[in-house]
Each structure stands twice: as structure tokens, then as C-alpha cells.
Symmetry: C2
Subunit: 335 residues, 2 copies
Amino acid sequence: MFKIRSLITALALAGSVSAASAWEALPTAAPAPEDNPTTDAKVELGQMLFHDPRLMSVNGRISCSSCHNTMIGGDDTLTTSFGHNNQAGGRNAPTVWNAAFNKVQFWDGRAASLEEQAAGPVINPIEMGMKSWDEVVARFKPIEGYRKAFEKAFGDATISQDTVTKAIAAYERTLITPNSAYDKYVSGDKSALTEQQVRGMNKMAELGCTGCHSGPAFNGPGVFQKFPVMENGYFEAQYHFKKDKGRAEVTKKTEDEHFWKVPTLRNIAFTAPYFHNGSVKTLREAVKIMAKVQLGKDLSKDEIADIVAFLNGLTGEFPRQKMPLLPMIPDVSQN
Amino acid sequence: MFKIRSLITALALAGSVSAASAWEALPTAAPAPEDNPTTDAKVELGQMLFHDPRLMSVNGRISCSSCHNTMIGGDDTLTTSFGHNNQAGGRNAPTVWNAAFNKVQFWDGRAASLEEQAAGPVINPIEMGMKSWDEVVARFKPIEGYRKAFEKAFGDATISQDTVTKAIAAYERTLITPNSAYDKYVSGDKSALTEQQVRGMNKMAELGCTGCHSGPAFNGPGVFQKFPVMENGYFEAQYHFKKDKGRAEVTKKTEDEHFWKVPTLRNIAFTAPYFHNGSVKTLREAVKIMAKVQLGKDLSKDEIADIVAFLNGLTGEFPRQKMPLLPMIPDVSQN
């Protein structure tokens, strides 16, 4: 299926699909899988788990929010993130805001759902570094506050990888940033974007950016896309994009080399640095690179400025959350 | 003045002061210094600053909340904290909850106020690692969201060490946990503590614990106290309390060796591990050690259990905060 989607994307990229009809506002709610309906109790528990550094990282210092900080743009603003023992990860932390609208998760798309994604970093030796999910579950067991929260969310107090990741995913499905200037514009308020932003928007369609970046989250219609499509020694020397083989690192297939999940453009002005390796610091440079290596176009300074202005119009309203209060860990030792 | 207070403490320790009259509930508001009255705008800004890892640490990864986490007991649950380049600090992170009621700040009391305390870790090379406050201020300058928040809090948009630390201190003055079982008990609800807890409470007065740990925050009437008072080879071999000279590290005076700020007992069940070096994992062991090395008493298992039960009654109600939304950092580079 992925191959077919890539083909469709490639066609869209070639300009055969009219992008104008693809301008869509961001939904204010995300669909949930049948076996994990979103409920208040699950969201509340998921928010606790997402922010708890004590239980899911081997050193007790790393939570999901360490790298996916929802007080900012849903990432950590670093080139690549740091995990257990200060080890640097190989890729830039993707934003958790609107991740519910990703078709796959991780840069290489190796998780099909938010639930599956949530299970990964916990037992990744260079991220949270737990040995196994059994070890995670054992840490939770003595904590009455968590037992009660799991019971409220799932009907019984059983704590498992399944319930932990379901709760986290349910919480993440609420992390949506609607009502950007762009959303207001496409919903009828023609004053919501400036003239320059509208120029940038039309330029993106004209250039073919929307071949990959359209739809409500600007991450479709395809799922994966090659990056860079065209060889460019100048950028490669600076940014080393091709060091990482992307999806092929998972599938081990030559034809997947340098294929990546198409990332959302939502809140992109708030999620520097850019690309899978976080090597590019500014949105101007990122736009310039994308036009050149994906579409073979050299943009003028003004064209870049227009597109950047439009991309700034994709910054949404971040819901004001309540800060979770995490349960006390009782002293169960014998001394 | 400190010497006089230590003397008073020593007298209290000797049992000459009746502790019974010292049982007091925690105030629900903390007094503020004349030059930094607490206002909503200052508290809101201070909460943002307290939680922002991007601007006040050299690696962009450490905020005040990294070690003083208000989603839990106001600390980090670690033996000692970790700072820039994964360097381990030498002392256990004290809780920020009710820190407004400390008479001095830091374990060695080297800061006289919350404002003064807040300035320290930012430019400590093994904590947040910034070179200077000028460097901190320069990072804030381009950020419109912060300029506006400073203007709202202080009447103008000038950002300085003075205003940053004042805002953080104003926020910290709101971090109060009233209405513990103990508070309810001393306010007249005699059913709020169990019989065992009341036994533990009376035992603390009888033993003389309250000589140092009384008043609303259980950290007075004195300011500093020697720890350990009595030599104990057995505990010293296990916990190395005397490796760190405490207040003498600051004053360089022999008579200050192993003197420490008397820490609050509020929420102590939630702030393991214990003591200045975080070497003791359980409250039972901490109580046993304190009775032995401070008061020369060997407690029975039941006496320890009673006191621990009472100390659990000092866990207050943690106010449910709103999570701050931190301002976007604009791209001000030229490429």
C-alpha cells in the first residue's frame, strides 16, 4: 500500500493534481481506533503518564514530555534529543501536537499508530532505557494513585503495556491546535491571512509543495516521500541528509532508502530546527532546500519570504492544559 | 544573628522550650518582600520562566522544574540532581513546595531569599551552566511573548536578572500545600489524625524533635542546626553525612562545619530520598537516624512507625496548576 501511495504522491508532485481544492481546516477532534475510544479518564491518566519522569525511564529523569514538550511546540527545540546517559538520538524529535493526524508515526513510519509509537522510546536503550515493559509495569504496581487512575480509565486496575500506551495515545489525540490564521482563512475569514501569506499559499500550490503537503495536517495525500529527491552536493555537504537511510533502516529494502514520513507543516514556525536530522535552523533555509532538492526550483528571496509568511500562518491555538499531579510513590522497602 | 538563632535552637533541643504550643497550621499565603509584592501577572510570568528549559540553561534542556518538579513533591526524587553535561550535583534537591516559608534558601543557607536563590543555579557551571546573567537576558530579548509578559508584570519590558528572579520568586510564593491532615487537626478537626499519628506527634515533642522542627513549616524556631550532632560510626560508614561540611563550605568558618538549614518536614513522605546528600531512602531510616545522632535516642520499631505515620499526615493539598504555554522563539538569524 505504501508503494501505491508513494506513486500517487509522485504524480501529485508532478503537478497533475489540482491542489487548490485540498486546502482544509484542521479538525478539532481526532478519530480514535475502535479498541481505544477517547474518554476523559483515559486522557487524564495519559497526561499523567506522559509527564511522569520517575517510572518509565531507567534513570527516573526522562518522560515523554522531555522531548515532546507541550508547553512549547511539542518538541524539544534541539537538533536531536538526548536520552539515558546523555546519549544523543539520531533524529529530530517530531512534534506531538497534531500527531493524531499522522498516518504513521516516527520519521521512518515504523509505528502504525500512536499506541504503537508510545511503546517504543520507553524500552529504547538510548532513549528512556527501560529493559522491558514488565519492568515498567512492576514500577507502577505499588502506586495506589496510579492503580485508581487505571481502574477509572479501563474499568480495572490492571496495568500493562497495552493500557499504558492506550492512555498515552488517548491523551495525545487531544493535543490539537486549531484556529490558525490559515484555518480561519479557509473557513471564510478572508482577512485572517495577509496578502503576503496568500501569495505564499498560492506559491506553494503552484510550485507543487502541496503534492506532498496538503490536507488538514499538510502531510498528505501520500504517506512516505523520498528526501532528497534530487542530488545536491552543496546542501549535502552542509547538512548530511543522506547519512540516514530513513525508512530503509527499518525495511532493509533498497527502494526505501531516503524515504521518510511526510511531516506535518502545522506549527512549523514553532518547531525549529528542521528535517529528520535537525540540521537546518531556519524556516527560510528549509523552504529553499525543499524547493531545490524536491522540486528542482530556485526560489527568489521574495518567494521564500512569502512562503515563510504563509507557514507562520499555520501556527494554531494551543489549548491551555491543567498541569497533572502525579501520584506519590509509597515507600515499600523494609528498612 | 545566625549564631544567636543556633543557640536558641540548641536550647530548644535541650528540652527547655515547651513544644506543645508550637503546633501551627500552614498559612495559605506567603509573605512577600516589600520590593516584590506578589501579583497575578508576576506569578504567571514566573511560572513560565520556572518551566522554560530553552532559555536559562546552556544546553536548552534544564529548567527550574527539572529538579524542582511541581507535578510531584517539588523535587526530582533523585539522590542528587543532574545538571549541564550530565554532571551530578553534590546535594539533594530541596522541595520548592512551601519554600516560601524557609528562612534561608539552599541546604547551606547561602541565599537569604527566594529571589537570591533563583539567581544561583542558572549560572552554576554544574547546574544550568549559563556563563552570565547578561547571556540569559540576551536570549530573552528577541522574544515578543516574554517582552509582553515582563511588561505586564513589571510595567516595562526590561528583562534583567532582577526581574527574572523576582517573577520566579513570586511564583514560588504561591507553591503552598495547605490542609494536610495535621493542619485540619490543629485547626480543630480532631478526627483528622489517627490515634497512631497523634502518638507520633506527641512523641516528636517528647523526644525534642520539635526543638528544631516546629512552627507552621516545621523548620524553626532556629535557622541552622548541626547535623549530625553526635558521632556515629555506624551511620557515617553507610551514609557519609560528614563528607560535606555544609554551611562552612560557604562561610569558611570551623564553627559552621556540618551546620545546615533546618529543612521543612511538610510533604516529607513525598520527598524521598532524605538528608543533604540524599543518601537515605526511607522515612523510617531517616527518623531512626535523626533520633540517634541528634538526640541520642534509640527508638523502638513502634515509636518509629508512629512518627512516620504522623509525618505522613504532613502531606498537604497540592494546588492544581494550569500548565504554562511558553512563548515562541522567533527566528532572528539571517540565513
